[in-house]
Symmetry: C2
Subunit: 297 residues, 2 copies
Amino acid sequence: MLFGSIEAGGTKFVCAVGNENYEIIDSVHIPTTTPEETLHKCVEYFQKFPEIKAMGIASFGPIEVRIDNPKYGYITDTPKPNWSNTNFLGTMKKYFKIPMYWTTDVNGSAYGEYITSIKNHKPVRSLVYYTIGTGVGGGIVNNGHFLGYMGHPEMGHVRLKRAQGDENFKGLCPYHHDCLEGLAAGPTFDARTGKKGKDVPISDPVWDIEAFYIAQAAIQATLFIRPEKIIFGGGVVSEELLDKVRDQFSKLFNNYLSVGDLKHYITMPTVEDNGSATVGNFALALKQYYKENIVKI
Amino acid sequence: MLFGSIEAGGTKFVCAVGNENYEIIDSVHIPTTTPEETLHKCVEYFQKFPEIKAMGIASFGPIEVRIDNPKYGYITDTPKPNWSNTNFLGTMKKYFKIPMYWTTDVNGSAYGEYITSIKNHKPVRSLVYYTIGTGVGGGIVNNGHFLGYMGHPEMGHVRLKRAQGDENFKGLCPYHHDCLEGLAAGPTFDARTGKKGKDVPISDPVWDIEAFYIAQAAIQATLFIRPEKIIFGGGVVSEELLDKVRDQFSKLFNNYLSVGDLKHYITMPTVEDNGSATVGNFALALKQYYKENIVKI
């Protein structure tokens, strides 16, 4: 059985076709331009695979995930130009009469890591996935389910204790200025140093500021969710950064509760090359396929 | 059928006996002294009610809630003198051979509010309950279940953006100094003003500092859990304070996501006189009774 996956990011869409073992058979990258052009290219791509039985779509947001809401399947009020109020799921459903699972990009990634933990015989019952890239987002899988009744989690927009020496940086979030995203997303490197993050050496103190903020996010996730694992993906994240995050976590958390070995607790994704969401989408497509077909029988 | 409830707080234990409608038949307050003396008085109280079929215990913490852990049922490393490493549940089980549900004080309160919402035909599928009193704690009910695999939530110990004018207040938490508890628990009023919170008029700017911190907690709860309701109980909380919290929430959140009418979203408990935990305990006792008796049949 074949499944489709769309990981819809602000820079590119990753479309893929995979099998029941969540292995990728084919994939393509589509640059994120206008909704019309981008979604049209997605449709063209999947029309080449008429045997696809279900699809998983993990999109940047905020999106509407409440099934009983008239805007279910839409990207809602996004700061991304042209994309507010886009009927993403509806557009795909117009062309493909198959079951589709609809969630956020980070929920898709979180689910991919959850499924991979089971496949690898190291099952994690509860995990939190953060992406630190152009923006900051978070997904949560708890006992195999996503959290949220009023919508999906958006843990990138919490306020934090400001780092020493960073008090005068205003923060870049258009909604909140100095929330986590406004203080720690990729573009903050350009704003603070005039250089891209990838060009700033790890010895630069700006990475300690970054780690101080990300460690607070990990502490929040710990205290709210008590997960078995916190995973950090996205372009800003590296093992060197996570070493700094673990150090700051230890100092700030002060062993208040046991979280086990920090090397296992705070990690990069198990699926390589930012592929977690594609795995998650295949698994969610399969889940949705069985859900809709059991109802019909 | 009769049920027992213990709400174990740092100042007093509230023991109660109730029926299947979660109505209190009898109750007593026991001052929290040493574990031996306090638990002995609990045992003596419940021995007067041999017809009790199950018990719910909601305790201050941190406590061990993982059933497969050897310390399950213990109060673990608490800053409260004499109470670290207390086998609370085991002591009760020694005297009463009945099903017992064991959770945190704030989970008990959260569950009581959840059950009451159903009883009142205004069901809430997901809610977060904070207590702001001698300490700050949080409980979460999501789709009828508590959150947490590595343990119970402890949202009182997150870091926050510091309030203007409050930068030099060090914070009172013995573990973290300026976490939510260290900045907003009852004793911070004594430390900042030399007066008890109840003696500080609501017009005093210290209440704006308090509201700024509590609003950030509400935003965190919103972004992690996307609950239908956030409830604040405990001695520090009043409707006047929550009005200030709603104002600060609006300013800080900047309508990033829809949470509905703030008057309904951020509220005091529905159960009066801090009785939420007792209702929750009765309901959890009933749940545990059916769980253990179905297994035996």
